[in-house]
Amino acid sequence: MSDFQIKEAPTVYDVIIIGSGAGGGMAAYELTKAGAKVCLLEAGQHYDPADPKYITQLKWPYQSPRRGANTRYRPFGDFDAAYGGWDIEGEPYTTKGDTKFRWFRSRMLGGRTNHWGRISLRFGPQDFKRRSIDGLGDDWPIGYEEVAPFYDEVDRLIGVFGTNENLPNDPDSIFLPAPKPRLHEMMLLKSNKNLGITTIPSRLSILTKPINDERGVCFYCKQCNRACVAYADFSSSSCLCKPASKTKNMDTIYYAMAREVLTDAKTGLATGVSYVDTLTLEEKTVRGKIVILAASACESARLLLNSKSARFPEGLANSSGVVGKYLHDSTGASRAGIVPALFDRKRYNEDGTGGMHVYSPWWLDNKKLDFPRGYHIEYWGGMGMPAYGFGWGIEDTNGMFPDRNGNKQEAGGYGASLKDDYRRFYGAYIGMAGRGEAVPREDNYCEIDPEQVDKFGIPVLRFHYKWSDYERLQAKHMHETFEQVIRELGGIPMGNKPGADEEYGLNQPGEIIHEVGTIRMGNDTSKSALNKWQQAHDVKNLFVVDAAPFVSQGDKNCTWTILALSMRASRYIVEERKAGNL
């Protein structure tokens, strides 16, 4: 056989799913359970957090020669579970003009669900109807009521802890018991109350009680980002792909970088997917009756834009021209402080679950503010495990406080008194990050770079993205709030409050890793690529189930909504198939 021949598998699958993250994992779970023969394409490698060769959980910092510092391969530290990063060898992306966009990718089973903070927030009723509220962006073609039953099912299937608070835009859910707050979180509950900042138990997909016999329960090591040996936190690989494989209805092809969705020139229907085997660089083809994109908002848009044919000259499912446009990430800004009341704390194990035990959902009314959309606040603090970066910058802090004997001391220093400062300040730092909703814009987009290809020969994405005053003024408000929160807690803010010249400390777009909107859904076929079932207007056997279909972001993290909508789209596929429409 010639090496240049395109390899074609003889099977025609019922469904091909591209990508194994939250959206692809849920589609795989639902469709294999319904009896469909599924082929799952994953660009990266296999991953199972209970296989000793992958385990980083409960390792000590000194087991890493860099003490947990980040590397190009693990930008969130040497123990983080996600393989890939911002800068993957041979897989570049470019930017247009002075755009600064950063794109985080995970090349592994489960994708980026191996990395995230397990923050599992439902969108609220207002999040689907923003245009009706503030005249900006667009309404979704669906409302909260249509998604709610699927949120309920996701809650039961995957598990999320939290508390019912009867808030208008942060819906109550089917919650497992929330862990008790840590000391600094108890202090925040009290001080934020004085400020009128709603602060409630966080909502994380971590099992505080067993929900089935496939997964264990949390043993409170705070290391969800390292992935859990007991499967007590949600990742698509452990909780969705694994059970999907167990049905024997699914073949998973690893190291498969999708290049193009193939279509029939006559019918215009999708017939399969062409992919590059990343180990051999061979081009291969897999055939299927239905194709589901779940490669991530930007990667799925790239795939459609690269799937050009005589019938689809602007890329597949793109007669509207919207594919790649309306790209938006959550906004982000953060600040830290030090709380003298916590100096010389009593030591005990306060790891708790991964991430924070309390957070602040958006608590204000934008009609009374100079920016249109809200944000939530995530908090950190406590007596964490020391690692690379521990005590870094103490020269900016220790001069502010007298020493143990009440004597004034100079910033910086060395020797016994410095050593003692580290001990005194341990567990006295707190910090917070705002995560807000951006207003989607047509002129924030990704497109195919006219010149560059990746090492697989596939044209790469080029990003164009600018923040507007909507986001800048929101970040300004975040920083004003952060200082209030730190001061009310009795703390001292560290560093400086960023000004207009620094876009009020806004993270660069992409850095919050909540990209959405690039293949949006809608009823108007000239302004959207997908219908309300996430089915392409132009190609009825093509669906998108990652965050690309999102019309807007909400001031929430997107994973729980990806899961609910992927489940909903998958059920629709099964029904349509039974009805003979697909």
Partner: protein
């Protein structure tokens, strides 16, 4: 209680009588006594560094870094003296060199090449300063002479003229020393971090809640 037993008991207590399979499996996987190769104390040719879920390309890169040497002997000696001035032995714990900080800094200089010039240049800057005033390099000077120079560069707010580069270098050394020391076994024990082990979380201890009036 051993990790394994704690984990099993968590599974048992939350389910009544039936242990969760994933919990039992997790307890066996995470129990270092069942996997001697995974024990952090095993010092044979740094196996602990390879045994924590490294990908092949990470293993290859780490092996390459371990095989290289960035700092020469003189620089390593200077680093060792300096880190022990920053974090000395005291009644509670050992010094930075006791905790292996010089080797850690050597590794970081290879791992983050952007550290190389500031570190090598800073060490040379110190030697130059000492040679100018005492005609000897840093390590050959007396302890009092060394401390006299450190006094000049350890306090960033003093703004001593002609010393700003030395101050920046010393801050970097202070920060790297703290990272290396407090993340070592000695440092973790000293600072009193008590986590990284299976347990049950039930809020802060009662006396702590009382202490803070919460």
């Amino acid at each position: 209680m051993k990790r394994r037993n704690v984990l099993k008991s968590i599974g048992l207590s939350s389910l009544g009588l039936v242990g969760l399979n994933p919990q039992v499996k997790a307890s066996e996987i995470l129990d270092p006594t069942l996997h001697p190769g995974l024990a952090p104390d095993d010092k044979k040719k740094d196996p602990e560094f390879e045994q924590f879920g490294r990908t092949d390309y990470e293993k290859a890169r780490d092996a390459k870094l371990f095989a290289e040497q960035f700092f020469n002997k003189h620089e390593m000696k200077t680093i060792s003296m300096l880190v022990d001035i920053i974090i000395p032995r005291d009644s509670r714990s050992g010094s930075a060199t006791d905790a292996g900080v010089p080797d850690f800094i050597e590794f970081m200089a290879k791992d983050k090449p952007e550290l190389q010039t500031p570190l090598r240049g800073g060490l040379t800057w110190m030697d130059n300063m000492m040679k100018r005033s005492h005609e000897q390099d840093f390590i050959s000077c007396t302890a009092a002479q060394r401390i006299a120079l450190v006094e000049e560069i350890a306090y960033p707010k003093r703004k001593k003229s002609g010393m700003s580069q030395g101050i920046a270098f010393f801050s970097l050394m202070r920060n790297l020393t703290a990272s290396g020391f407090w993340s070592s076994k000695i440092g973790i024990e000293d600072i009193g971090y008590m986590g990284n082990t299976p347990n049950q979380w039930d809020g802060p201890p009662e006396d702590v809640v009382r202490q803070y009036g919460l």
